[in-house]
Symmetry: C2
Subunit: 180 residues, 2 copies
Amino acid sequence: MSDDPSLFDPRVLDPAQEIVSRSGLDDAEIDQVVEVLRSLRLWREADERMSEASRRYMKLGATDMRALRFIIVGLENGEAVTPGAIAAHLGISTASTTKLLDRLAAAGHIRRLPHPTDRRSVVVEVLDETRRAARDSIGRSHARRFDLAAALTRQQRDVVIRFLRDLAATEDDPSRDSAA
Amino acid sequence: MSDDPSLFDPRVLDPAQEIVSRSGLDDAEIDQVVEVLRSLRLWREADERMSEASRRYMKLGATDMRALRFIIVGLENGEAVTPGAIAAHLGISTASTTKLLDRLAAAGHIRRLPHPTDRRSVVVEVLDETRRAARDSIGRSHARRFDLAAALTRQQRDVVIRFLRDLAATEDDPSRDSAA
DNA sequence: TCATGTCACTAGCCTAGCTAGATACCTTCA
DNA sequence: TGAAGGTATCTAGCTAGGCTAGTGACATGA
């Protein structure tokens, strides 16, 4: 939780000096740009804090939580969720998934049912109480975000969408590399 | 990495139906709002993917990485970084921090020096190559974000800042609760 | 100066990943 | 049709990275 000694103001960190001067912005604008970056970081941290609070409340690890959400959404969508699919989604081995499902089953969150057509396989089902709790919580936090986004004008939404998409694109593709 | 069967369109998930109708938006606007939420999620995922790629490249766990960043930034700032401070920042025990520093030292990233004034304590120093790699990488990704934020107009930056701050505030404070 | 607090470290435990291999079942094709 | 090979889950046993408890060296305030 929370990284960041907020000192990544590019005017402080010397290799970044050059970026600033290249940008040709005046000081007030630089402050504003830095504020954009800071608010990105703050949101990310807030978001992490919140999901960790949920995890602690439900006494689940991060992966177990993701698994539960995947199972719930899959079911919501009428798909048969199998251990293999969960492993693939989470990017962990099927062996680890077996243990994960054991934990979730022991905690009363899921149960395994025989797969209707493939007798090697298994369908994972979320028990009612967990399903309800999860949907309420996801729903609530989703609603808050929805309301905030709905409160913007069309033009403002476009600005936000474009900015975030550009950010995502920039992180994904280009000069990926090195360190910290 | 990557959660999210993107089906959190509130028109699909029934408890959210009500949110949508309350908002009084037409369909085109709802699409746009959903797109805002989607781009938030996409950025977060991209960001996570990137930092995981870095971690894999440096063969470090997430906590070890955070520790390194903390140490580097602390040094950048002229502070004497001690194991205790690292433990406090990361929210782990000092015992775990001892092991963490053992790992980082074994991998050639840091070394321990005697604390100049407190002979019980220790100062952690990042070795040159690691420091350089980390700063380059942080600098590079920081520069890309900086450029994107700099490319916005003042008004656009204000929109983004306000939206993200509101989001962060909304996640932190209010009805925190339950589940998934 | 001496009692108490603080710092890093050691020892030993637990959880949640992993790989390898077992078992049951499905599928394809000669 | 039946044999070979592929696939799904599970078991066994390992490792990494957390934890708590306790130690020894040092700091500090009465």
